[in-house]
């Protein structure tokens, strides 16, 4: 009896892993760009953590705000201290789904257009967003790429009047992450 149970358990867990198609990275590239007449502000991080379930299309992102690198140290300090308040809200997260899963063949090399919908959580505010992106399947790796706008005011981020002209009301965000199968 025990042997049968063990065998069953092994089969179940084995098939479980075979089907639980999860891909991940801890070093995803996430950047944003604020473009105004006064100045351009660019920031990037290589610490984006992502998990994608290719079976369900579920995708989650988590980015440490303090990981963003700016050109100027002072911008970085103000970003963390005054705007996104990193001590209070250390991460930005996204929990969503690829909605046109049928159009994306994760087992076949190629580039596919994908629509992603889900909740963006930033500065303690959650908002449902939808964006178009690309899924590139390349020899067992999956690359996710997307560009989407974020309206600062939507996330209750206060910009003082003195620098209002220096910071765009809508910042352009870019995600470019390469996922590997999860062990």
């Amino acid at each position: 009896m025990f042997r049968i149970l063990l065998a069953l358990a092994l089969i179940l867990t084995a098939s479980g892993t075979a089907h639980a198609q999860k891909f991940f990275t801890k070093t995803g590239h996430v950047s944003f760009f604020s473009d105004t007449q006064m100045e351009d502000i660019k920031a990037y991080t290589h610490q984006g953590a992502v998990i994608l379930n290719t079976q369900t299309g579920d995708v989650v992102f988590s980015v440490l705000m303090k990981g963003f690198q700016f050109e100027k140290a002072l911008m970085q300090e103000h970003f963390n201290e005054k705007y996104v308040e990193s001590d209070k809200f250390p991460k930005a997260t996204f929990t969503g789904k690829i909605t046109n899963l049928a159009a994306v063949k994760f087992t076949q090399n190629g580039t596919y257009n994908a629509t992603v919908q889900g909740d963006m959580n930033l500065h303690g505010v959650s908002k449902n967003i939808t964006t178009q992106g690309k899924v590139v399947v390349e020899n067992g790796k999956i690359i996710l790429k997307a560009d989407f706008p974020l309206t600062i005011a939507d996330y209750n981020i206060q910009i003082p009047a003195a620098v209002r002209d220096n910071i765009a009301k809508v910042v352009a965000c870019n995600v470019d992450v390469t996922l590997l199968p999860m062990p």
Partner: protein
């Protein structure tokens, strides 16, 4: 049996939980305990970021109790102009020139510990500042042998700070000032003091600061006053304006620690300001090899 069946399902539903589990601990440094490199007169633990040049223009006006004739001291302006440069996240150098005593000064500020959580837990930031001041006034007595070294004074401070919360930071600064030459034999060459400073953030861009230097019992403590200063920091992009009231006229340690003679209760109060402006002259902080900032400080 049921256990094995439900496991994969649960894992699928909580990808975010899985992501949190994957997360590795990092050095989560505390930052911006103070808006700028000074609390009021004295040094804060902050230093310019690597590759950043900070210009600091400080003014101290006359005493407010001089009344309307001097527009409450505004007719007498004293100033120090200084530059500070960040060499690494832990080290900066600075120079300055103050008209009080025609003093040139130069200092080195080193962060020995940085307040952090995560991979390591360090509750405080510890920094050391050593500075040298040279007063270039004409010699008062040309008949005696005057040595250049007589122009020099030195100061050494430990800065122990903690950012308790987003709003409140506190700093202690044991201080020693050494003057090579003092006016009379009664006066101390070495002056010891303990300073305390704090800031409270009123809004994202405005903080209230206070600073006090207590002279340890000595001849200096009997003849001079403890320095007490209050100020407001206003930050606008690349500038920090510090508007302040203090009973000290001088802006270098040998002056405000060891040579303060104004009394608050008599109205011997100086209005003044520090204007800090940063220039990013080298973007080396961005080019630092990956993991550089991860050094185990």
């Amino acid at each position: 049996m049921a256990l094995f069946l439900t496991l994969p399902l649960v894992a699928q539903e909580d990808l975010m939980g899985l992501l949190d589990e994957m997360e590795e601990k990092t050095h989560d440094y505390s930052y911006a305990a103070f808006k700028t490199v000074r609390i009021v007169n004295g040094h804060s633990i902050e230093i310019p970021a690597p590759g950043v040049l900070q210009m600091l223009i400080s003014h101290r006006f006359g005493r407010v109790n001089t009344g309307i004739y001097d527009l409450f001291g505004l007719d007498q302006a004293n100033m120090r102009m200084g530059f500070e440069y960040g060499l690494s996240p832990h080290l900066c150098v600075g120079i300055g020139r103050s008209n009080i005593g025609k003093t040139y000064d130069s200092f080195l500020k080193i962060k020995l510990l940085r307040q952090q959580t995560g991979k390591r837990n360090i509750p405080i930031t510890l920094a050391g500042v050593s500075s040298i001041q040279a007063s270039m006034l004409k010699w008062a007595d040309l008949d005696r042998v005057n040595y250049f070294t007589s122009r020099l004074s030195y100061s050494h401070q430990l800065l122990i700070a903690r950012k308790f919360s987003d709003r409140f930071s506190f700093q202690l600064m044991p201080t020693m000032v050494h003057r090579n030459l003092v006016a009379t034999t009664a006066e101390d060459n070495d002056v010891f003091a303990v300073g305390a400073g704090a800031r409270y953030k009123l809004s994202g861009s405005v903080t209230l600061n206070a600073e006090y230097y207590y002279l340890l019992p000595s001849y200096t403590a009997d003849t001079y006053e403890n320095s007490l200063s209050i100020g407001v920091d206003i930050e606008t992009g690349g500038h920090v304006f510090q508007l302040l009231f203090t009973n000290s006229l001088g802006m270098t340690e040998n002056q405000y620690v060891a040579n303060t003679d104004g009394r608050w209760e008599n109205g011997d109060i100086h209005f003044g300001f520090n204007l800090a402006r940063v220039f990013t002259v080298s973007d080396q902080h961005n080019k630092a090899p990956k993991g550089e900032s991860e050094k185990a400080w």
